[in-house]
Amino acid sequence: MTGDHQTLALLLFSAFVAVTLGITTWVSRHRHGSAEEFYAGGRLFSPMENGFALAGDYMSAASFLGISGLIALVGYDGMLYSVGFLVAWLVVLFLVAELVRNCGRFTLADVVAARMRERPVRVATGTSSVTVSVLYLVAQMVGAGSLVALLLGGTGEAARAWTVIGVGALMVIYVSLGGMRATTWIQIVKAVLLLGGTVALTVLVLLRFHGDFNRLLLTAAERSGHGEAFLAPGLAYGGDWTARLDFISLGLALVLGTAGLPHILSRFYTVPTARAARRSVVWAIGLIGGFYLMTIVLGFGAAALVGPDAVRASNTSGNTAVPLLALDLGGGAGSTGGTVLFAIVVAVAFATILAVVAGVTLASSASVAHDLYASLRRRRGEPRSEVAVARLAAVGIGVVAIALGLLARDLNVAFLVGLAFAVAASANLPVLLYSLFWRGFTTRGAVWAVYGGLVPAVVLVLLSPVVSGGPEALFPGVDFQLFPLQNPGLVSVPLGFLAGWIGTATSAEVPDEARHAETEVRSLTGAGAV
């Protein structure tokens, strides 16, 4: 890429960093340092603001760059991701959002621990939440690295490492200084920027085809070299039964994982009531649905205008399809329009990564301080000290994510996000649904449900073809691959539910009627909600 691209993209990105740092300082100007303020932003955001923030938290670079890129390369099969990512929100809306808002205070563990013996349950859900968050963070760090590689033409290994470190350092500053309030505003700004950029590109693609979607599809199919097959399922996940099962596994993880993501769950505590939580999810579904519909247009547009060969030449997994499309839509390489559009898209993608990283770091620091630290230390201290621990935890998690992000930089971003979803669906969702809806659920059931999903999900990934046994694996030299699928969801999600059931059935503990009544009444009416 030319120097113009780099300068302009860097300028725009610096502007975003300056604005968000400004927000952070402005917001932390009158912060109280209370846990309420740090984890939940004072609980006074409006449904619309929180809806934009939810959308901002959810639309990561993997969606913006990854899905469009996959559609540009494999056509219809990439579109299946868009569908799964959106339908997942119905689980959140129907079963989780309002009830979690009514029952909990800051984290997933609050909801579960209300009915159970607190310590083991908090340690279990805290551990699984941190695991999910770290996996999600690593994916975003790797995405940032790939973007820099594109911007600098793949020359600077050092530049790539420094970008990952820089992104990590920035997010630690945002989170530890601004807490939930600053993070929420960053998400809102980012969601508006991302949606604006996506709308502009979509309109330009449709204008190029004079609004004729049919011709867009036909051109994409023709240019792909696959003809009609490009518009039908099977290009990526056709083939043998392993590939097909792998896709079903991924589909299951996507649709069930969203409701177990810690950074999504913690967003419901930033609004005052369950009704506001519901309305913010309705906002989020509208925004996210519109966004994923547009990624389909962008994906087929990239296939039609840039061509799968050019996309693949730039990045084998298609992550750079959208920036290349922007370059073409603006008038091609070397033109002013192309340079500007390209720089804008790269800067928006950077902003996206930065914001998602901040949101996930905050959620995981809450899990460390509010769940793990609060249960593992001896006595209860001042609430203020918990916030201090959360700030330290944000720094610690930042360091871990930076280190892992540098190690895993050659891994596929979409795979890591899929894995985070699989772990969330296996470890967090069963325990959450059981404690909200099952009268007879016990402490042992809760602990087994978490570890019974978490351990298989992580172990199956270690034994999968992603880690060893092939030329594209993380460790190509060794072969301890025993599990054929890349995504463990198909096995580990049912195991999580099963383990929770077995744990409950075998425990001698009598379920506490009164505490179940409390959870049920509180979850549906909001009585006693904070």
Partner: protein
């Protein structure tokens, strides 16, 4: 002092909402510590009014969740096991699979709208009354204020 009515959504900024101007932003204090006596919740749980709210919620959510999950799984399984069916042309370049994908978007939007409407009309008011009653009951028992 504190405005306990959940219908009153106190806002951080009032952006995009027609919040009552001049109303001071109510800052809720943590109430997790002052637990109501356990028998209050048991009593409310067994009451007719609560059962009505619960069954209204479940009567909508259970069938709707089963429906969308079955429809999504059917879509994913059909796409992977019967791609030739998905490839059948419908109109121009648009085939059955493309329509099925867009239908998933459409049903998601429709179910979201239906759920929000159902909750607003059939559940919110009754739940709010129960919330008041429960907190009132807890206060009487001297558990918490």
């Amino acid at each position: 002092m504190r405005y306990d009515d959940p219908w009153y959504d106190a806002l951080a900024s009032g952006w995009g909402e027609s919040a009552d101007a001049g109303a001071p932003a109510a800052v809720p204090t943590p109430r997790g510590e002052d637990r109501a006596p356990a028998d209050v919740y048991l009593e409310v749980q067994r009451s007719e009014a609560f059962r009505e709210v619960r069954s209204r919620y479940r009567r909508f959510v259970v069938p709707a969740a089963v429906l969308f999950f079955a429809w999504y799984v059917a879509y994913v399984v059909t796409a992977t096991t019967a791609p030739e069916w998905m490839a059948r042309p419908v109109a121009g370049a648009v085939n059955a699979g493309m329509l099925a994908g867009l239908a998933q978007f459409l049903t998601t939007f429709l179910l979201t709208w239906a759920y929000a409407r159902h909750a607003r009309l059939r559940r919110d008011r009754a739940a709010l009354e129960l919330r008041w009653d429960t907190q009132e009951l807890a206060r009487e028992r001297g558990g918490a204020a």
